[in-house]
């Protein structure tokens, strides 16, 4: 009466089979529980869902398409322009005192940035130098997006009194003296500069601005055309600056092949947080880990402000951010629909559909790419945040914004999770 087993050989076999079934279920459940994501370190292909893997692929270099054409620059992909542009990029003679080249702040051996909280040209600026890998993919340039092409961006620092400190007539003379042949092969004959002043341009220096105002429209257009072409050659070179393959990219390739990612437990956990609970991928998405857009993340203004020379029209303010930048790009004399652009009207979609005067643009700044991020502190638009851990602490706390409204919400990240995200961010380097 008390026996758990039914009498008979066949009954014993069924009972024995039942025990094996239970054992099999138990074994399967044990194996699957161990492998279920979250319960174990997510280094193995089986730890990521199909949807996760699609997302990871979208963040990797394998998902980066060729750079979009820049129809506003007719020499954008011309190898001769690339060569001229590279020479100009590193030539300090394109500055008023011969000391500042683009490469002085956009240092090629330092991810094309300068490791400083704010850049220093001939004077002090108020903004962090941005790295340039993948810059061909950016529809808007500068922290506030006030330029809509690489060539028009290059013209800003050249005439900014704190950066290169020169003017377009000065630069036309540099081309005539040192780059006549390559320039003329690309752009045709240089204008005759012999009747023009040494310096003339719509810049801060009143004497130089007065000299510019005294020129005829024909003269101004001739000089401006040379200035624009300098920008277009530099842009052709900058379009060739591409991100390099990172440990993260190699990990994604392995995961997609069904192999072990080759990440440490912390790196894998950090990646899972990055695409999950921490929400980083909301803005840091796509193969460059930026949505190329503008967000208010409540990063406070830097304590140090630039001198009067830096606060000229065309330099963004902490209060306005994208709100000001959008108006600046729309009225920029070198934008996609300007006379100096090579684009036709149907090309300039980003400008034509530009959002203006939206509340979420106040205090909003460009999402930087996170590729190489661990190698280039400090962070944010004026280098206000010293380390990656400090940056993550900022996102965890989500302080109120000084201007506008922050998009961040406080994140309950543990210290361990912060370390893990930082560990993952380090895999975004070679």
């Amino acid at each position: 009466m008390g026996s758990p087993f039914l009498p008979g050989r066949r009954s014993r076999r069924i009972a024995g089979g039942g025990i094996s079934l239970i054992a099999g279920l138990a074994a399967a459940l044990t194996v699957l529980m161990v492998e279920i994501p979250g319960a174990a370190s997510p280094r193995h292909a089986a730890d990521w869902t199909g949807q996760d893997l699609l997302l990871l692929r979208s963040l990797s270099l394998s998902a980066l398409p060729p750079p979009p054409p820049d129809r506003s620059n007719r020499v954008a992909d011309d190898p001769e322009a690339v060569r001229l542009g590279q020479a100009l990029f590193s030539d300090p003679r394109l500055s008023i005192d011969g000391s500042v080249a683009c490469a002085s702040c956009h240092r090629p051996e330092r991810q094309f940035q300068d490791d400083r909280p704010t850049a220093r040209g001939v004077g002090e600026t108020t903004r962090r130098t941005m790295p340039l890998a993948g810059v061909a993919y950016a529809p808007f340039l500068f922290w506030d997006g006030r330029k809509d092409s690489l060539w028009s961006q290059a013209l800003g620092p050249l005439e900014n009194p704190a950066e290169h400190g020169g003017d377009r007539t000065f630069y036309a003379r540099v081309i005539a003296a040192s780059y006549r042949a390559p320039y003329e092969r690309l752009f045709g004959p240089l204008p005759d500069l012999s009747g023009l002043p040494q310096r003339a341009g719509p810049v801060a220096d009143p004497a130089v601005a007065a000299a510019w105002a005294a020129l005829s429209p024909v003269e101004q257009d001739a000089v401006t055309t040379v200035f624009v072409n300098i920008g277009k050659a530099i842009a052709a070179y900058e379009r060739t600056l591409m991100p390099v393959e990172t440990r993260f990219d190699r990990a994604v390739t392995r995961l997609l092949a069904g192999q072990d990612a080759g990440l440490t437990a912390d790196e894998g956990a950090g990646l899972r947080l990055f695409i999950g609970k921490a929400g980083c991928v909301d803005c840091h998405n796509g193969p460059l880990l930026t949505d190329q857009h503008f967000h208010n993340t409540g990063v406070p203004p830097a304590l140090k402000t630039g001198g009067p020379s830096a606060l000229k029209a065309g330099v963004d303010s902490d209060a306005a951010g994208r709100l000001g930048g959008a108006h600046l790009v729309r009225s920029d004399p070198f934008n996609c629909v300007s006379l100096y652009s090579d684009a036709s009207g149907s090309d300039c979609g980003e400008l034509r559909y530009l959002a203006l005067d939206q509340p979420d643009q106040a205090g909003a700044f460009k999402t930087p790419s996170l590729r190489g991020v661990a190698g280039r502190p400090p962070y944010m638009r004026a280098g206000q945040i010293a380390t990656l851990k400090d940056a993550l602490a900022h996102y965890a706390t989500a302080p109120a914004a000084a201007y506008g409204q922050t998009e961040l919400r406080a994140l309950p990240l543990t210290a361990r999770e912060t370390e893990q995200i930082a560990a993952f961010l380090k895999t975004l380097g070679p």
């Binding site: 099999g24 459940l29 796509g286 949505d291 857009h293 503008f294 979420d360």
Partner: protein, 146 residues
Amino acid sequence: MAYGFSRQTYLAAGVLTVGLSLLTGLRAEGSGATPDFPRSQVSDRGLYAVTVRPEVIPPPVGTLHRWTVTVTDAAGRPADGLTITVSGGMPAHRHGLPTQPVMTGSTGNGEYRLDGLKFNMPGKWVVRLSLDGAGGADTVIVPFGL
């Protein structure tokens, strides 16, 4: 064991049962809901029925693209001569649309072109269409996920 199932068979059956049930569960989570587009909706006051069709389905993340909108009135006739303005954003993220889409034309027969739409991140979006014309002013709110 001359007949019936062996212990090994029961063991295998057990593993297979658990494995298959978990696998189908994961696949159901991963496949997502039915596609969001094309989408037909009635406007808030019932004045119009609107069908929206992004030129790429699902809408791409990070790329400017066009939506075609077909509008009929309450009687089911094509509604021509409307002005459509576009707004929206991501309510959970407290930001609006990253661009200002614009009605760029209509081909008659109640069909309109909206250009300049862009969605810069995955997540839950809302596009709000304000329609104004002889039949009256009304709004359609189109929520969707990317």
